[in-house]
Amino acid sequence: MVYSIKLYTQIIAKEAQRFFTYRVNILSGCLTALFMLGARYALWAALFAAGNAGQSSLAETMTYFVICDIIMIWLASSYGNTIGEDIRSGDIAQKLIKPCSYHLMLVSSFHATSMTSTLTRALPMFIIAVIFIGLLPPASVVTLFVFLLSVILGAVIYSLIDLIISYTAFWLTDYWCLSWFKRALFVLFGGLALPLWFYPGWLYEVCKYLPFQYTIYTPLAVYLGRIPSGQVVFSIALQLLWICILFLLERIIWMYAKHKMTVQGG
């Protein structure tokens, strides 16, 4: 365990060092985040100006998107590209025989990128949003803690779904399309492009039976008080249930994927 933690911190340090070498990319990432924020604000301000917002408000919607973007920057893993590239290049054969879990290496590497991206992209976005747009605070300290717990559970669900989709790379000769499929599913069912309370009833019903909304929408609905306090525990329980189901599914697919593996490079 101690060895794993030491390895984890070393991988994070090295990845962070690599990330900060590309300063233009950091600047570009920061600019992208700010453009995204500006575009979102202009779009939603123009929409709310039409005056047909119903129960929602501009401040609530912008708070939803700013926190959503920050969580997505933190979660910006793309296991599909990494696993696919490892298979294509043959590196996966070397990585699987190392005295360290392949998954631990993947997670450590992405956490390093997540931490550095959060600092260089999410933080400037958050500061600008707080100063110029004004974000809604959580209803109470308890809500904040429940929100943080829900975000962590959502991150686990996101990573498990990402891994399950990424394992398709073992059966494909090309893998770049996996991230497109993943994004499409999260945009449609996860509330990435539009909070679920704006969805038509039938689509919202479909989303309820899928795991995608539990990654982003549920934590944000908790934060914004869209889930009544009596149902918050039920939502957290549903997140835990999805973690169990997805973890089981991930293990089964990984077992088959390892046997299917064909290393083309090397």
């Binding site: 779009l43 047909n52 917002a53 000769t173 090309d174 399309c177 497109w180 945009v187 539009l194 704006f198």
Partner: protein
């Protein structure tokens, strides 16, 4: 004519090499259909919830988005790979081979890096155009059809030229150009919506130094019978002029940068 035939022949061989992996090709197409289809569905849902976006109804917004994406796809099929490869070409000297071929170096580069993957964008945007055209209250006279055709071509020329102008400095800097990154951010985040949702200085910028407004926002108003924008109404007819000007600027930039090109390769 000879150059055109040669161009078609090179593209034909590129197509053959891609079709060697039909699964990967079709998987990529399906992923992009899904991703962009959902993206457009979400945009429609957003505007549909509020009724209008700065006076534009959902069908008009989808029409504008589809035109932007179609012109982007046509332009990027010619220029995306070349723009992405500029730094590598300058580093490994692969640009040298373009100067020793019996055809124009830029035409040779565009042909050899032609990206057939954009066929998926063209298919999905054609579907979106048919959907929006069938629901718009526009009288489709011969002149209007001609203007639609012209605005797709001019939009593609404007986007292609701007991509090349912004990414070309990478030939000198030998790393991805910050102006190139800036172009992608602006084009990807800000241009899909009517630019009238932005503050006046941004609208002025998109009507002058960075003529993104002429890709879709201004010319599409001729068809929709609108007259929006911060400059006189003649602006909505100026896209072809802007496209021709950008071609000249692109040629000047290419000549300026390649006249002092020094190979770094082996």
């Amino acid at each position: 004519m000879h150059t055109f035939l040669l161009f078609c022949k090179i593209v034909k061989y590129r197509f053959r090499s891609i079709i060697e992996y039909p699964g990967a090709f079709i998987g990529g197409l399906a992923a992009q259909w899904l991703a962009y289809g959902i993206e457009m569905m979400m945009l429609f849902l957003i505007v549909w919830n509020f009724g209008t976006l700065a006076g534009w109804v959902p069908e008009e917004v989808i029409f504008l988005y589809a035109l932007w994406l179609l012109s982007y796809a046509i332009a990027a099929s010619f220029t995306f790979n070349i723009c992405r490869n500029f730094p590598q070409m300058a580093i490994n000297g692969s640009l040298d081979e373009a100067f020793i071929r019996p055809m124009s170096p830029i035409v040779y580069l565009i042909a050899t890096t032609y990206n057939l993957g954009y066929i998926s964008h063209i298919m999905i945007t054609t579907a979106a155009l048919i959907f929006s055209i069938s629901r718009l209250t526009v009288v489709w006279s011969v002149l209007n059809w001609f203007w639609l055709f012209l605005l797709i071509i001019t939009g593609a020329v404007i986007q292609g030229c701007m991509m090349l102008i912004c990414d070309m400095p990478a030939l000198r800097t030998r790393s991805q150009s910050p102006t190139g990154m800036f172009f992608w951010d602006v084009n990807w985040w800000l241009i899909q919506y009517p630019i009238s949702i932005y503050p006046r200085p941004v609208q002025l910028l998109f009507t002058s130094i960075l003529p993104f407004g002429f890709i879709g926002f201004y010319p599409v108003q001729v068809l929709l019978g609108k007259q929006e924008g911060i400059l006189p109404e003649i602006t909505i007819w100026l896209s072809p002029v802007v496209a021709v000007m950008l071609i000249f600027i692109t040629v000047l930039c290419w000549r300026g940068l390649t006249s002092r090109y020094e190979s770094a390769g082996t």
